[in-house]
């Protein structure tokens, strides 16, 4: 399954790109599995996603928790906890 990934703040710095399209293995079914897969994929992924508890996510514009399913997702945004205000 092709999936658009978008990165923000230090996640983007560590990944080296703002977004990319990935071909997801069939067994990556939810956000938790996606973070584990990205952390194991290459060195930059290991840097960005070594501590998945520090990562927040939105699927197609809606903030989601760690167990959220990826079926039907078109874009997943991955980012640190927000610090506005």
């Amino acid at each position: 399954m092709a999936l658009n990934l978008a990165y923000f703040a230090w996640v983007r710095d560590r990944m080296g790109v703002a977004d990319e399209v990935v071909e997801l293995p069939a067994d990556i079914a939810d956000l938790t599995a996606l973070l584990t897969w990205l952390a194991g994929r290459d060195e930059r992924g290991a840097l960005a996603f070594a501590e998945p508890q520090r990562i927040r996510a939105a699927i197609d514009g809606v903030m989601m928790g760690p167990g959220a399913p990826l079926a039907d997702a078109r874009e997943v945004a991955l980012f640190p906890p927000v610090t506005g205000g």
Binding site: A9, G61, T83, G85
Partner: protein, 147 residues
Amino acid sequence: MIRVAVQPAAIDVGAEFDLHDAGGHGASASFIGRVRGDGDLTELFLEHHPAMTEAGLGDLAHAAADRWQLAALTLIHRVGAMAPGDTIVLVLASSPHRSGALAACEFLIDRLKTDVMLWKRETFADGRVAWVEARAGDEVRAERWNQ
């Protein structure tokens, strides 16, 4: 009237208040957040999401309007590069009585710190660059509005 904006341009607090207050309201509360110059900070950069940041502010504004009787609400967040002293965020809430105006103003500033896609990056005089870490206290303050 609800006005929500995410903008790279400087926030004109006086002009925004005049616009907000055009009808005159019984009670108006305001919050202005500014860039502090702590530790030789030279630049504060606010990163945002092109669509989700403004949508997030809009959701918060409507949540406040559902919860309190508000006559007018202004919620403006600046993004991009800022210098010490610049206004980052402006919240104006008006209601027939003070309780709604004050509560809505505090609700909005507490929740936008945890619910809206914005990230601060600091640059210091010695060249250091660091992303600001979220504070646990912010989560606690935001969460109490759910109780």
